[in-house]
Amino acid sequence: MIDMISCEQIAPKTSPWSATDYKSKLKPIWCPGCGDFSVLMAVTKAMEALQLAPKDLAVVSGIGCSSRIPAYTSCYGFHGVHGRSLPVAAGLKAARPDLTVLCTGGDGDGFSIGGNHFMHACRRNLDITYVVMDNQVYGMTKGQASPTTAPDWDNPLTPGGTGISPFFPLVIALAAGANFLARGFSGDPEGTAHIIKQAIEYPGFSFVHVLSPCVTYRPEQKEWRNMVRPSPVEATTDSARAARRLMTDDGFNIGVLFRGDRQPFNLHHGASKAASSYDFGAQFEI
């Protein structure tokens, strides 16, 4: 197994990586004007800033428009089933701590079908960065309400709106123990790139909540451009203060909002050895 998981880079790259090096040739299926284009750009720019080799980066996702991101990068990608990206990312990171693991997806994938994994990923605090592109709608199934949709948003599946209060992902992430919280806006790829870079660098579970408009089913979200503002205060390290801020802000303060001090989940495992190197039979001997 040892040779399987320790793969040396054969020819170290001499010139620096550029953002384009992290992009694949595959053309995204997204609608023209989709916020996710900018998030993809932000992700590749963050990678450029970190100068990580694509071979050592894994991008994991579930199902939805934004979950298509892995194949649009030149990194190792994993496009799994709906709602389970975080467990795949957790297994990969736990087994291969040498890799940089980025998990991506949308609000339905992450907060509805994957909601339980979201809370436990925050708790577990593995050194993973989770970027959610939130457009408050299920786009791939043509416009249904998601957990972050306002209760009165009319749509064919819940006419007149869901009548259910939306979910506040950053508040839940804080309460569940995430170590790094930030909000980004797809209309600002440079700023979002800088946030994602910091999130990857920060130890433990980092959650970046990106407002990423759906121009097809939520055209009114084009207005977000005029509503977002840089967070007026520096990120806090005090979770009580972060909770108060997150519970009272209007959802449009952009920037790093919280930096925790929890130690990342650390699994101590040495080099893989043959089972025959340890006498497991002794405990069964009569």
Binding site: M1, D3, M4, I5, S6, C7, Q9, I10, A11, L26, P54, K55, D56, A58, P70, A71, S74, C75, Y76, G77, F78, H79, G80, V81, R84, L86, P87, V88, A89, A90, G91, L92, K93, A94, A95, R96, D98, L99, N116, H117, M119, H120, L267, H268, H269, G270, A271, S272, K273, A274, A275, S276, S277, Y278, F280, G281, A282, F284, E285, I286
Partner: protein, 577 residues
Amino acid sequence: MTLQEPTNSKSISIVVAGSGGAGAMTTGNTLFDSAAKLGWHGSLTRTLGPQIRGGEAAALLRLTSEPNTGPDDYYQVMLAIDWKNVERFAPEIPLRPDSLIICDSGAGDVPEVIAQSGAKIVQFPIAKAAKKVKKGRPNMVALGILAHLTNIPEVLISETLGQKLGAKGDQVLQTSLATVAIGRELAADMKVLASIETEPLKKGDHWIISGNQAAGLGALNGGIRFVAAYPITPATEVLEWLAPALPEVGGVLVQAEDELSSINMIIGSSYGGVPALTATSGPGLALMIESLGLAVAAEVPLVVVNVMRGGPSTGIPTKSEQSDLNIAVYGLHGDAPHLVLAPLSVEDCLFCLQWSVYLAEAMQVPAIVLSDQMMGQARAVISRPTPHDMVAKREVAHDPGDNYQRYAVTESGISPMSIPGIDGGQYTADGLEHSPSGLPSSQTEHHAEQMDKRLRKLTRFDYADHWADISGDGQLAIITWGSTTSAAQEAVARLQQNGVHAKLIALRLITPAQPGKMAAALIGIDKIMVIEQSHSAQLFGFLKAHYEFSASIKTFHRPGPLVIRPGEIVNQIQEWS
């Protein structure tokens, strides 16, 4: 014709019953371990109710002079520490007029469901006698009585109790031994029922291991280095055994928040190149099914051990049934070829798991291994196993070149797999249908060639003669699987003693079916009896769908929790002859 046991072998079956917390399991385990030190083979299973404390529990032991981990037809001895709730499992404890019921004279009348067997009843003041020793417990009196009946010397009981009590200290051990001695005195006038004389055992010649432990060890031997775990009865012991063992070989275990997570965690690990496993039971397997389909499509090897229990739904979590065959074989949506395997015994959990890891890794496919509660939670005496050198060997694209195709269409159907960290081997593993390079595709041609290749890699693989254990010969064949195998083996041996010759085919590989090998095994057979512990005869249905039989074929099946016993199989076959 009355059928007898093979003449040279000895066997005694004993049940120790009591309400939860009465210590029936401690009595049973101590007796069993001490008997094993003396050279007995056999197994100890348990039956218990849903309560952790205060329910009912029984230790079901069988001691045999020859290796045998299956059940006998009935219990020669039943020792009841008390009679609370015993009626709940009375049908699982067949007694006969020549059986012996030993009970506490202060515990009231023998319940009708037990007494109606006509077995001889012997009463002792068990609880009262225990009080002669300060802090003495009735279950130790019971142990003394049984140690007398099985002629197990005090020194072995003392050694076993010393190992079990260990940390509780010498005072507790002395109390227990004094109470055991009282039990021996009570039974002193009774005839010894079973005795064995063997050469002294060399330490390590024999092991006592449970099926769940053996599954864990087999998995490690096969190369598993990552386990994601969500507790569920009766599979938890697989995970709990692996938890401290994995770090010894550089592996890790992570507890997941649910089975949806555990299956996806192992997919993540395996995608990262680290062979991975999880263990679960019916309800957990049901939750994992969608992602097992992902592992088929993305060609991610992994192993799921499913320790079967009574179903459907929550069913009977603590008792055995062979009723998850259908979900394991047919549960995945789409056409999703994968491996389904089943160990044949406690001991075979070792080999079967090691083989399953090997097969899954070699073919980059998920393997579901169907163990069951009976073998999973049974403790059995086995001879020291010979190590197998079968270790996971995935075909890795170490040098992917310029135009690496993750899902290249190859003759074997197996495509070299790149692992994160390999430069130039980057690809996106996908549950979407894909082209050979791994790009999402909804094209007819890609779907057809990828489905063909995913099937081909399984059908072209050489499973050697491990697909089934075949023994005996005759014109009649028994086909069975899982823990029913040991009862069938004994039935075949008993029939042989009486001049009836039968062949036993115990399936280890369920899917892919092996029609060619089966046809060869059935040459000259004109009758086939399929034996299984399922209400709807799932194995029988599966065999008829995937194999062609020219012989006449019959099913003998019933649901759990009643185990299928060798005498019943003998009767079925004789009635058919």
